[in-house]
């Protein structure tokens, strides 16, 4: 049994190390691709970002609405309904915005990336590229990685703002909290540092989500089942990593 544990642990370390090396290779190729093949990056920003906008906006609206409802229901016990804006803004900017966007991003864009790259591998498209002396890492993986990294912070910002308007809609229009108090309390309590925390989180989560999707796709077993498993693993791994990292970043910044 200990032998099994040892082998599992060694296997984990090996995968982890391989992923770091893969990440470094992606990073070292990123600047030249970003400059030379910008149109490829734009295409991937469109795939990862623009096409995820609808799900992000709808979810943001309803998450914000729930925050408005819950905040109002609980804060009104202390006659502090006016703070519902602060409550919604804090939870959206620092936690819910980055985390939920990252999870949705993994589900919407991460799976698409992983299965696309996995299928390319299964149908030998990547091998064909290598035959033509095109490095698939540079041509296929780096633009997709960069597209995700660029799209994620923007998606988080959109999610957060739509969420705030959702909270406004529920709290102010539906439950009758004063609009001035809603925004003014938020403004006087929130500081730039809170915003930076959210931005740092969104950048880190963007890197993690894109890296896992690209990695899983690239290392998928080139069969129908293997691609399916790679897609599943992308979502599971991203969710775990994002939540653990969220805890760590919050612990550091408090």
């Amino acid at each position: 049994m200990f032998r099994d544990l040892y082998i599992t642990f060694k296997e984990f370390l090996r995968t982890f190390g391989a992923m770091q090396l893969f990440f470094l290779r992606l990073l070292s190729n990123s600047p030249s691709i970003f400059v030379k093949r910008f149109n490829l990056v734009v295409h991937q920003v469109h795939n990862a970002g623009a096409l995820s906008l609808v799900i992000i906006m709808v979810c943001g609206l309803f998450v914000g609405g729930v925050l408005g409802l819950q905040g109002h229901a609980n804060l009104s016990k202390f006659n502090a309904e006016d703070s519902v804006g602060t409550f919604a803004a804090f939870s959206l900017i620092k936690e819910l915005g980055p985390v939920i966007t990252a999870l949705l991003f993994a589900g919407r864009a991460g799976t698409a990336l992983a299965s696309e790259i996995g299928l390319m591998k299964a149908t030998d498209q990547l091998a064909a590229m290598e035959m033509m002396a095109i490095n698939p890492l540079r041509r296929v993986l780096v633009p997709r990685f960069l597209g995700g990294v660029i799209a994620m912070p923007l998606l988080v910002a959109v999610f957060t703002v739509i969420g705030l308007f959702g909270a406004h809609l529920v709290a102010v229009s539906l439950l009758g909290v004063d609009a001035g108090a809603f925004w003014q309390q938020m403004r006087s309590t929130l500081e730039m540092g809170d915003l930076y925390e959210g931005i740092v989180k969104s950048i880190v989560f963007g890197i993690v989500a894109s890296l896992y999707a690209v990695w899983e796709g690239y290392n998928a077993i080139p069969t129908a089942e293997g691609v399916g498993r790679a897609t599943t693993r992308t979502v599971v791994l991203t969710a775990i990593a994002v939540l653990i990292l969220d805890f760590m970043i919050t612990a550091v910044s408090i």
Binding site: V42, V45, H46, L51, L154, A157, T160, M192
Partner: protein, 160 residues
């Protein structure tokens, strides 16, 4: 060709929307009353007790925020607390015999410094010190005094 154009259009719209959202977050949700950009001057004051006054707490005059606390430190020689705060330099006509007191916003709110204008012809300037100060009200002390008075009252009644 048509397809690349729609892709570019979509991406452009998306990035613009994201940037707009970021701009909204930075300008609309965080406090506009920070004085990092404007000119300020520093004033200090000594308090017996600062309560739970924190760095960056507002300094208000007639309820309007005109500055912010920069540092709170205990002076081991004079055995009191020295508070340094900055005031927006457009308010350069505050009499130098104004008094500073530590007040609480609301019943459970955070503490801030309230300035009460004096009558002097001289104005506060960079480096000047406010001499008239009033400490924070500590609820335990108030309760203590109240209980003490109660005790004194009931003793008197018994004597009668």
């Amino acid at each position: 060709m048509q397809q690349t154009r729609t892709v570019e259009l979509g991406t452009g719209l998306f990035v613009l929307l994201g940037m707009g959202a970021l701009f909204f977050l930075t300008t609309q949700t965080t406090g506009s009353n920070n004085f990092s950009g404007t000119e300020t001057f520093k004033v200090s004051a000594r308090f017996e007790n600062v309560g739970s006054l924190k760095i960056r707490a507002p300094v208000a005059m007639s309820g309007v925020t005109i500055g912010r606390v920069l540092s709170v430190r205990f002076d081991p020689e004079q055995l009191n607390a020295e508070v340094v705060f900055e005031i927006d330099s457009q308010y350069n006509q505050i009499p130098d015999d104004s008094d500073a007191s530590i007040l609480t916003a609301g019943l459970l709110g955070s503490q801030y410094i309230g300035l009460q204008a004096g009558g002097s012809e001289e104005y506060l300037q960079d480096g000047s010190e406010i001499l008239f100060t009033q400490s924070a009200i500590v609820i335990e002390n108030l309760i203590g005094k109240y209980l003490f008075n109660q005790g004194a009252d009931s003793n008197e009644e018994e004597e009668e």
